[in-house]
Amino acid sequence: MKLKRIVLACATTLSLVAPALAQESVFVPLFTYRTGPFAGSGTSIADGMHDYLSMLNERDGGIGGVKLAIEECETGYDTKKGLECYEAVKPKGPVMVNPWSTGITLPLIPKAAVDKIPILSMAYGLSASAMGETFPWVFNPPDTYWDGMSMIIKYIAAQEGGLEKLKGKKIGYLYLDAGYGKEPLPFLDQLSKTYGFEQKLYPVPAQEMQNQSAQWLNVRRDRPDYMIMYGWGAMQPTAVKEAAKTNYPMEKFISIWWPTEDDAKGAGKEAVGFKTLNWHAATGDFPVIADIRKHVVDKGKSLAAKDKIGTVLYNRGVYNSMLIAEGIRNAQKITGKKVVNGEDVRRGLESLNVDAARLKELGMEGFTGPIKLTCADHNGHRPTFVQRFDGEKYVKITDWIEPMTDKVMPLLEADAKAYAEKNAPWPKRTEVCDVKS
């Protein structure tokens, strides 16, 4: 037992030493996963998040004259390590956490209100947490997975010439057999009944991500008119390859917003035509990226590989950090404080309003669309577009597609209510509201 005590002693001292941070800074921890089975996606996201915030520090001296203290904590996409990261950063007074894993987000949701640390789970996590009245501390802009599904269906309908033309069509749904992939199932079911299309389900178990031939044999048998994918990590390149092998028409294969360029590239020329949703650009031709190059990358302060800058997931990291930064800036504006805390940033995020003019100031004109959150709506339900893989990169091919918010909202409301009931006693919202919608 002696060894244990020594080890514990070490850990104690370390946890006491660590919070010795400069007072005049805002602490932003970044949970990242540069290791583990999903490192391929995680590395780019981590770099994008890190580089944008570093750029603000280098270029502007932080936000509102306060430096950002950025600290990465490696989760390896593992829930247990993620919680450990949370406990490790908690004493240092983080203004928010970005769990970057649904598994880590779920246990943090009830803690957020108690620890006064807002959660920004950008387009992942618990869909119902879009309901700000039930989840005042959780934000998941700009879309939920249900929004995503509705936009894919709308895109498919547009190809067919209208929602009523979906009748009698067969739509296949290939998904990671985990909470994330299964979440849209009830919604898809509802849509199929409404519009009269037939849904075909192809679950891929997490440990069989790279062994999908059985699922694709089923695809061959069922011959769906369109395929929708909610994949993750190594599941995505494997699916694209299998689609090519099965001679599935790539133009009719549409994914939610997670695949990278590399995921498609693996299948070579055959992957041309593969489509994904997105809400931001997938190139580096924007002033904001130029600034990152100038202030961070060229100074050797970035871990990112040069050719990954401006790719889908790098830009997603940038977008995520933009939300972080704007939330902090807003908080400063509302409270008049320079050094804001978690409670302030919660208000800042809730009154987030990044309009076209603000995007232009940020050097993100055309990079993404405006977003506005309210106390009731912590998501935004922003439109997305479809991008098509051209063999090298993704090219935007549609205009903005609005989600079926009218169909999604009742589900979200019901889910939020069910969550609060199952987790009774769930606290009633008492937090102040700065922006009534």
Partner: protein
């Protein structure tokens, strides 16, 4: 009644109704089975010669493929990278012999088994440390592996055979044949068989056990490399492959731990069995049963024939 119909009749109706799909399913199963068989082959080689149940065989496959891809990504021409990787596998064999097998000789089997867990973790760590954890693409063209498919218009439908899969089957057969010749015809091969039969006997004819272990582990390493290339070309090379490689374990139960033909036949049975199961029966219980079906087949097998397909009946001596 309906449920009985769907379990016992409907799948066969489907098979008869679309024979091309049945053939395609069988083919996919066979190809998957060949890859399982190759991993199992590595196990068998090592188990026969050193009595070690090498849990790290799966990770050796990933490690070998990762080394190859990592080197080509760093700009090494593919053929040279292949040679270098083979060299790395040799060094690995030497290191394993020196730091794991030699100190643990005469320890209970279970100790050696657990040591290979340690080896697994070391290999994962070292591999990621050097080459990073991102999934990597296998440079199939540079390795002269074919791509594309042969589409056969038979059975009133289409059966599509990937050239890559055909190549995998051919390479696997060549490798098995090569190993068979190696074991039957060469001096070292005969020595290896002698070790398998009796360590003492092998020592008495003047063969160094240490050398034999190195050779066996190296051979298993090369088999692992070939498997890694094949699987890496089908999907990407990443550490997530390791969990799939565990499927070689039920193959071993079917084939027996010491039988090379057993590994191959077992691999094919598991490969075909799980594809048929997933394709025809999986949808009945929600699909995704592939993750455990192989183990269930093996378990059922264990209860009726614990010694495997080709193993000899074990008589307990007291």
């Amino acid at each position: 009644m309906d449920i009985l119909y769907r379990i016992f009749i409907d799948p066969f109706v489907q098979m008869g109704g679309a024979p091309d799909l049945l053939v395609q399913t069988l083919w996919e199963g066979l190809v998957g089975g060949v890859l399982y068989a190759l991993i199992a082959l590595g196990f068998v080689l090592i188990f026969k010669a050193s009595g070690v149940f090498n849990f790290a065989q799966g990770i050796m496959m990933v490690f070998a493929a990762l080394t190859l891809v990592g080197l080509t990504e760093k700009g090494v021409p593919a053929p040279l990278a292949l040679l270098l990787t083979i060299g790395v596998m040799y060094l690995l064999a030497v290191a394993v012999e020196r730091f794991v097998l030699r100190p643990l000789v005469n320890q209970p089997d279970i100790m050696l088994f657990m040591a290979t867990f340690g080896l697994t973790y070391v290999l994962i760590g070292v591999g990621e440390l050097i080459f990073g954890g991102n999934p990597k693409k296998m440079p199939t063209d540079a390795l002269f592996l074919p791509s594309g498919a042969i589409d056969l218009k038979i059975l009133g439908g289409l059966v599509s055979l990937q050239k890559l899969d055909i190549a995998a089957a051919v390479i696997a057969s060549v490798m098995v044949a090569g190993l068979a010749i190696f074991f039957q015809r060469t001096r070292i091969g005969r020595a290896l068989r002698a070790v398998a039969d009796d360590h003492q006997a092998a020592l008495s004819v003047g063969i160094s056990l240490n050398q034999i272990w190195i050779i066996v582990w190296f051979t298993a390493g090369v088999v692992a490399l070939a498997t890694g290339i094949m699987w890496g070309a089908r999907s990407d090379v990443s550490f997530a492959l390791q969990v799939i490689s565990l499927k070689a374990l039920p193959v071993l139960i079917l084939g027996g731990f010491t039988s090379v033909p057993g590994a191959i036949v077992g691999g094919l049975i598991i490969g075909v069995g799980e594809k048929l199961g997933e394709f025809y029966w999986g949808p009945l219980i929600g699909g995704g049963i592939e993750s455990w079906l192989a183990y269930a087949i093996a378990l059922a097998f264990l209860l009726f024939r614990p010694q495997g397909l080709f193993g000899e009946k074990i008589i307990e001596r007291i």
